[in-house]
């Protein structure tokens, strides 16, 4: 690409100015002028010899163009309807649904993001669940179809419904895509993505793996993937074929706690020791350059904790560790809802409005109901877009959610999963 050449040319010129050779003896301004003169003369000569550069260069989408954007808040929470065009059973407990827009609008997303799926049960109750996209977008950052993968949770009402009831041609209501657990493809990047997945935590990492291998020719991916038995491995074949096609850049390492006969990979759970051993193995085979490696972790809570500890113990900078948690709804605590409505003062970009939040209404719903353009994306505590600062008063929030410790201590709460327990004032950052 033309631009790259220009950059490296510039770097070289800088080195020449600092470095050795006769140029080092001259004042920098003169060197700059001389260089410009040489370029001018060369350009004129090239005009005659025909050695001019091509009049155009081929361009690829830059990371700048593909970075996730928060959708403009619409006046209310209006889901988007997508049609199920394919149902693929991945394992006996996991199903992939391929979705397209009935009007043919392509879907923009960044690898690693998830949809909030609104599941309406036979009883009429609507459940909201986050499911990550496992497919990859086209080069321009959008795709005509996206695939989400749903693993059945024991007793999970939404995941069982989606695994058993959904058929081709059905429509699903979704919000998003949302989430910051993303890798924005950058054709110029040279990075090493180390992905640690447990069970259904593979979904966002599968999208990241596929996209990175397809769009970043200089980057490498190492995936450590923990499961019980071989039959539980989601995307087993497609991952293996990726490993064959990109043998030089993609390492796939299975860890099984209940391995079949003849399994040669590591056995056991992805605990502190096993994660450490796996990382050692990656370091030994392909190197783990501290400046190029980024770590993405997604899976069950004990595995996430173990992986984090293991990474920190190796001296990995916390900023290089990226985590995605989807708490099993069974473990989620919905606090006692306030019984009376409360007044909420919402400050947003210099505007202030006092709204009344009915019992059962979240801060987000109350604000949107009063036509305040409050930002949100997933509406279920998973993306952080709706965070607001609690200036006074009291709220109760569903836990766990995606707020970081630091944000919590600064007084942030998530408007989409918080209810006013007393009159309060919040500010949209």
């Amino acid at each position: 690409m033309e631009l790259d050449k220009a950059q490296s040319g510039g770097e070289r010129a800088n080195e020449a100015r600092r470095g050795s050779g006769p140029a080092a003896l001259l004042p920098a301004t003169i060197v700059v002028r001389l260089e410009a003169l040489v370029r001018d003369v060369r350009t004129v000569l090239n005009d005659f010899t025909g050695a001019r550069p091509a009049p155009y260069s081929v361009r690829e989408p830059l990371a700048r163009h593909l970075i996730a954007v928060t959708p403009e808040p619409s006046p209310g929470i209006t889901p988007r309807r997508l049609r199920v065009t394919r149902v693929v059973r991945e394992t006996k407990d996991a199903v992939s649904l391929t979705l397209t827009d009935p009007e043919g609008r392509r879907i923009t997303f960044v690898p690693g993001q998830f949809f909030t799926v609104l599941v309406t049960l036979a009883s009429g109750e609507v459940l909201r669940r986050a499911y990550s996209i496992s497919s990859l977008p086209d080069e321009d950052g959008a795709a005509a179809e996206v695939t989400i993968t749903i693993k059945r949770m024991p007793g999970g009402r939404a995941s069982n419904h989606l695994n058993e009831r959904v058929a081709e041609g059905d429509v699903l209501d979704v919000l998003g895509p949302s989430g910051n657990f993303i890798v924005t493809p950058d054709p110029a990047a040279r990075r090493h993505l180390v992905l640690i997945a447990g069970g259904s935590g593979i979904t966002p990492l599968a999208s990241i793996t596929r996209t990175t291998l397809a769009r970043e020719p200089e980057s490498r991916v190492s995936l450590v993937y923990g499961n019980r038995g071989e039959a539980d491995v989601i995307f087993r074949e497609s991952l293996e074929s990726l490993a064959r096609d990109h043998a030089d850049r993609f390492t796939l390492r299975h860890v099984l706690s209940d391995p079949p006969e003849g399994f040669t990979g590591r056995t056991g759970l992805l605990d502190h020791d096993n994660v450490t051993r796996e990382l050692d193995a990656i370091a030994a085979s392909s190197g783990l350059d501290a400046d190029a490696a980024e770590y993405y972790v997604c899976g069950p809570e004990p595995m996430m904790i173990a992986a984090r500890e293991a990474l920190l113990a190796r001296g990995v900078e916390p900023a290089r560790i990226h985590e995605e948690r989807f708490s099993a709804p069974a473990r989620r605590t919905t606090p006692e809802l306030p019984k009376a409505s409360a007044l909420v003062e919402i400050r947003l970009r210099g505007r202030t409005k006092i709204v009344s939040a009915a019992p059962g209404q979240t801060l987000l719903e109350a604000g949107l109901g009063a036509s305040l353009p409050m930002p949100f994306s997933c509406t279920m505590g998973g993306c952080g877009v709706c965070k607001v600062k609690l200036l006074s008063g009291n709220v109760t929030s569903e836990e766990p959610n995606c707020l970081h410790e630091e944000e919590r201590s600064q007084g942030f709460v998530l408007a989409c999963v918080s209810h006013a327990a007393a009159p309060c004032t919040v500010e949209v950052p």
């Binding site: 033309e2 050449k5 220009a6 040319g9 510039g10 370029r39 001018d40 350009t43 004129v44 005009d47 005659f48 010899t49 025909g50 001019r52 550069p53 091509a54 009049p55 155009y56 260069s57 081929v58 361009r59 690829e60 989408p61 830059l62 700048r64 163009h65 593909l66 954007v69 403009e72 609008r105 392509r106 879907i107 923009t108 086209d138 080069e139 321009d140 950052g141 959008a142 005509a144």
Partner: protein, 392 residues
């Protein structure tokens, strides 16, 4: 200008077209009658046309010579500009909101980027060059990517020039307004760059003539010359070009993108007319006014005659036809005729409005066939809606 190929036809094609290019450059410089104007355009001409500074494969540094003008009393001096500032603030839009999910296939016959007849294929074939169906769509794609590349380069110029003008302008309300224009131009760079990178995957080098205009106004120290160059000439050129493509393209994302950009540009030209009308009619000598009048005319000619898409010629036809033949093909192509009409129907009334189209210079405009645009509406009377409606 004469066809140099008669003299050079025994040379290798590369050299033939180089000699034609030099003659063309010489022709540009010699046609400038006023020595002061030549002084202002000449060095830029050399840097652009001979040294191809924009094509050297390295970033270009252009020294600035203008003066940043501060006013510590913050006067409310130009109500019309204050009004433009208010409108510009509410008129801001987010480039991310364009329908980027649209999938763009440059070769889709249902939604062509530019119509078949934009370039005249018959004229090319009349020169004995066969171009089949497939090559026609490829060539149209090149032509469109070339135009959008020049828009992008022009927007980069506009971004920096708008920043300079904001520093240099003497009206305080103009400075506030100028800040919004800087933002606008930044957004224009963003969206054209994104369209080229993610949808067309092709970026052409900056055209030498466009480089000359940008170089000349970036390095001129006089704020009103910058204004004239930027807000009237380049913006006029932009409106002509964007308007033409907006009208002709069937690609929905590009159409929407251009529509949004045109609405911004309409404000920019309006600002230029406001600022210069005041200045040229009240604050400068007749000699200075004449110099500006001549400069504007030369640049107008440069814009009319010289945007011949030589970069597309280099890619497609070098050695198959002469540069002069290509110039003829482009000159007579439907798309270019349309472009010139749109551009001059905007530009000429604006020059009249700011007092740079006096009877003294009219004969030269007449000679160049540009006087028929004299009666149109100037930018201060033209709303964005009207402007877009004209393009349907």
């Amino acid at each position: 200008m004469f066809d140099t190929s008669r003299l050079t036809r025994f040379l290798p094609p590369r050299m033939q077209s180089q000699i034609d290019a030099y003659f063309e450059a010489l022709d540009v410089l010699l046609s400038v009658k006023d020595p002061k104007v030549l002084g202002a355009l000449g060095p830029s001409g050399v840097r652009g046309l001979i040294l191809h500074r924009g094509k050297q494969g390295t970033p270009t540094d252009m020294p600035a010579t203008h003066v940043a003008h501060f006013d510590w009393t913050y006067p409310s001096d130009q109500p019309e500009m204050a009004d433009l500032y208010r409108r510009a603030k509410v008129g801001q839009w987010n480039g991310d909101d364009l329908p980027w999910h649209t999938s763009v296939d440059p070769f889709d016959p249902e939604r062509p980027l530019i119509p078949e007849e934009f370039l005249s294929f018959e004229e090319i074939e009349a020169l004995g060059i066969k171009i089949d169906k497939n090559e026609r769509t490829q060539l149209s794609y090149s032509m469109c990517a070339w135009m959008l590349s020049q828009f992008l380069h022009g927007e980069q110029g506009a971004l920096f020039a708008a920043a300079q003008v904001t520093e240099a302008v003497q009206f305080f309300d103009g400075k506030l307004y100028g800040a919004t224009q800087v933002m606008d131009e930044g957004r224009h760079v963003e969206v054209f760059n994104r369209y080229l990178d993610t949808k067309l995957h092709k970026l052409y080098q900056i055209n030498d003539n466009l480089f000359v205009i940008i170089d000349s106004l970036m390095t001129d120290g006089r704020w009103d010359m910058k204004f004239l160059g930027m807000q009237i000439m380049v913006e006029g050129l932009a409106l002509g070009a964007f308007g033409t493509l907006y009208k002709l393209t069937k690609e929905p994302l590009l159409k929407e993108l251009l529509k949004m950009v045109i609405q911004d540009e309409a404000r920019h030209v309006h600002y230029g007319v406001c600022a210069l009308r005041e200045h040229f009619t009240k604050y400068i000598t007749e000699r200075e006014r004449q110099e500006r009048e001549d400069w504007a005319f030369e640049v107008a000619l440069l814009m009319r005659n010289r945007f011949a898409a030589y970069e597309v010629y280099d890619e497609w036809f070098e050695g198959r036809m002469t540069r002069a033949q290509w110039r003829g093909v482009v000159d007579r192509s439907k798309g270019m005729v349309e472009f010139r009409t749109t551009m001059f129907s905007r530009l000429v009334p604006n020059l009249r409005e700011i007092g740079l189209l006096s009877p003294r210079i009219m004969p030269r405009y007449e000679e160049a066939g540009l006087m028929r645009y004299f009666g149109g509406l100037a930018a201060d009377k033209l709303t964005a809606d009207k402007l877009l409606a004209d393009l349907h």
